[in-house]
């Protein structure tokens, strides 16, 4: 068995390790724009080859796949999907795990995703508005937008999203000003290099509740959910500071339990199932709409909201990063077998199992991440001790040395019977990482800690109290506003 893995981040390192565990003893090659030291180690150990190049260059990837004699290609990140790389690979006669260009629209265009969700009336749909230009959005922001999330309408590496809670009228002027400036920045900065999309800006209602990611394998017919994972987006301890790609993530059982033998959980088993069902409905809808089969991974980045219960915040056409570290660690079934099941569209015949284990992932970042990446880049990294439990992320190996790439440099994976235990193990691993030029690193100590878990469980239960009340009253997802002089306006 020979496999070509595309992508060179922590997620792909996690996938590479899971593939390597396969009893088929696959030869793993990798195609990425940086030589990730962790993946490179797997490549060397399995007798594969490391190819450097642009991950969106399908011709180069096909050549590499042919050279490696790959039985199939596994696409890690989203950008190749947006560039039709899986489509080109399949056309060349090589099998591929990765969402095709048309079905990857679910992730690429946040506006199309919402359009589709509303068209098919799939639950967990937030109220939204889409704009092609800043000027078009301006009157809306000035007059109507209150508590909202401003999003680049095209997926742009998770950057550019801003959530502004505009509830206190005495602070409204300041908040509107920042909303305006940020909306302008999204359209004129974040979206300026993307000509593959019509709508540039999405404004959505702001909601609250615990967030979690439900990642699924799919062959287009069967959708198999993986354990729910909770990512931590704030850069600093206590959910403070800038939004990042994710500072670390936790999982335990299917529904984010406190521990393997514990009834406490952030979401219920039922909420987990409903979330997976929402992802399935989205997959069915996009296949119906485009006529393309979905072969690969689809994920719902969800929030348990008071309005809807399980609610889609965004869709992914791939595994999340750092969420991949959780599910690939817990995966019991042979990943190669699952991939073959997807390719041959017989996923329903495979029993996909996960270890009942708590997993905590903590990303270590050079200071400067996330918004001053040039400062975070180019620092030499040393890792004391063995590499077990370490996922190399934004790190480049060249001439025997490893340097930071500007983003999260490693992800430390701890496991245990409870999340606080797993968190403590991950914390130990973080101490082994240092930058030898003395540049400082940071990571979140609180991910998976008792205090943080208690807060999240409490937050989930508050959202649950409200959405279950709505459900009993038949009001799930409905929003009613009395507009004096106009009457009752219903949304939803």
């Amino acid at each position: 068995m020979k496999i070509l893995l595309v992508g060179g981040a922590g997620r792909e390192h996690a996938i590479a390790l899971a593939l390597k565990r396969s009893p088929t003893e696959p030869r793993i090659s990798c195609f990425a724009d940086l030589k990730n030291p962790g993946i490179n180690k797997v490549v060397k150990e399995t007798g594969g080859e490391f190819f450097l190049g642009s991950i969106n260059d399908s011709a180069a990837i096909i050549r590499a796949a042919q050279k490696a004699g790959a039985d199939f290609v596994f696409i890690g990140p989203e950008e190749p999907n947006f560039h039709g790389v899986p489509d080109r690979i399949e056309e060349s006669g090589i099998k591929c795990i990765g969402a095709g260009r048309k079905v990857a629209e679910l992730e690429m265009s946040k506006a199309s995703m919402r359009d589709l969700q509303w068209k098919y009336r799939i639950p967990g749909r937030l109220w939204y508005k889409k704009f092609k230009t800043f000027e078009e959005a301006l009157p809306y922001i000035q007059e109507y937008a209150e508590s909202v999330a401003l999003k680049p309408a095209r997926q742009s590496g998770g950057k550019g999203v801003k959530v502004i809670e505009d509830f206190q009228v005495y602070l409204q002027e300041d908040k509107r000003k920042v909303k305006k400036e940020h909306a302008e920045m999204i359209v004129k900065e974040h979206m300026k290099d993307y000509d593959d999309i019509e709508y540039k800006l999405l404004i959505e209602e702001r909601v609250w509740g615990p967030e979690y990611t439900v990642q699924c394998f799919t062959d287009g017919r069967t959708v198999v959910p993986m354990p729910a994972v909770q990512d931590n987006k704030h850069a600093f301890d206590g959910d403070l500071g800038l939004e990042t790609g994710g500072m670390g993530s936790i999982s335990c059982g299917m529904n984010l339990k406190w521990g393997v033998d514990d009834d406490r959980a952030i979401i219920t088993e039922d909420e987990c199932k409903r979330s997976a069902d929402i992802v399935k409905q989205m997959i069915d809808a996009i296949q119906k709409e485009t006529g393309q089969k979905y072969h690969g991974i689809a994920a719902g980045q969800m929030m348990l909201t008071s309005v809807w219960g399980p609610t889609i915040i965004e869709m992914y056409s791939r595994l999340g990063d750092p969420e991949a570290g959780n599910v690939m660690t817990a995966l019991k079934t042979d990943l190669v077998e699952i991939c073959e099941g997807i390719i041959e569209e017989r996923l329903n015949a495979i029993k996909v199992e996960f270890e009942d284990v708590a997993v905590a992932v903590k990303a270590v970042c050079p200071e400067g991440y996330p918004d001053k990446r040039d400062l975070a880049k180019g620092h030499p990294v040393a890792l004391d001790g063995p590499w077990d439990g370490i996922l190399w992320a934004s790190a480049e190996e060249s001439e025997g040395a490893i340097r930071t790439g500007g983003s999260r440099v490693v992800e430390c994976v701890g496991t245990g019977d409870t999340l606080p235990e797993a968190s403590a193990r991950a914390e130990e691993l973080t101490r082994r990482v240092r930058l030898t030029d003395g540049w400082r690193t940071f990571h979140r100590k609180d991910i998976g800690s008792e205090k943080s878990l208690l807060r999240r469980i409490q937050l989930g239960s508050m959202a649950r109290d409200i959405y279950t009340y709505r459900e009993r009253k038949g009001l799930l997802g409905k929003r009613m506003i009395w507009v004096p002089g106009k009457g009752l306006v219903e949304v939803g």
Partner: protein, 436 residues
Amino acid sequence: MAGILGIYLFDSRWNAYNFGVFGLMALQHRGQETAGMELFGDSRVKLAGKGLVEQVLASSPANGHVCIGAVSPYPQEEAEVQPMALADDLSVSIDGKITSVDGYAWDPSLGYEANLRRAYVSLYYNRTDIESVKGFFGRCGGGFSFIAVNAAKEMVAGRGALGVKPLVLGKMGFDGGIVASESCVMDIIGERVPISPAENIEPGEVRVFTPMSAYSEQLSIPKRRAYCGFEYVYLARPDSYINDVPVYRVRRNIGMKLAQESPADADVVIGVPETAMPFAMAYANETGIPVEKGFELTGRRVRSAMKPNQVERLKGVQLKLNVISEAVRGKRVVLIDDSVVRGNTLANIVYLMKEKGAKEIHVRIGSPHIISHCPFGVEVPGEDELIGKHLSEDKIAEVIGADSFRYLSLDGFIDATGMKGEELCTGCFSCSYPEV
């Protein structure tokens, strides 16, 4: 004492000015004599003066994405209105009192602030980097919380090792952090997350904010905790959490305890606004005696006990407390107040109420007797002025013209907080203070 506030917004597109004004308004009850705020943007701008936040700060907009501020009672002569300059380009707001600085000999010929400045400069010269600021406050003894901004616009906030003064951390989404004396600030200017809105900063802990990081560090390991008990009786707002304990819960418990310890045969329970209202409601619920509104206020709400002199305090009381005669005429009244310092204002209230026809007045106080001057900056006058230090309960009843007069016991008070006695500073009630 004071109310202190720090706002750190990572993105310089934000202006912290309005957040500062409304945040300080939420702390106004902690100091009504002076207000000050310093904004750090392209330059440093300080706004400060005597008066309420609304009068001093609300009409002079300025710019900056980092801000610290303070409200204080009792302005000292010649003292700089907070935030004060501890060194060049090092501004700080302090709640409470620093009573010693390790490595510096206090000069009694200098004022409090001058000593702090000299201490800083003698130990750290004009260095204002984070390590120096942390180093300085790590050496400080006493009961205090502080929020400082240095020359590099970095913010360092923390609590003294004893934890006498409160300090909490709140958030503004992905945009920044807020540090304040009380959690109510987060309800007013922070992110509205429907769980307890603020995180308690622990005694001896500091929180650092820089353009590239936000982290917590334990500056000193507390030998013991000494949370100020008076926060729960009077100082804090009832919608705040202090040391993760909801203030309102303690006040309700105090009312219940008072009812159990000192019941009275009466027709109506009346609380002295505003602080004692929850005591009165809980006392009424516990005894079954109805609670009524006994007073109406004229003009602005003021905290009369924190006024600097007797005339101002009486003015405050008389304007605040016009007795509603219908509520008391011909009735036996349980009158509940939070604390007694000199007893003058209480005597005035009892007099006014009897004048309006109350048949009997049984005074119940929601705290033990105040017998000692606070070394940590709570504005308790000298011991020769404290009625509770010199007179018995029965004597006080006679002096103020009440039919009976009872304090809450110290044990009853500690029970009401739900905390352990050794975690609390109850020095004003007992004369016994934690070692600094």
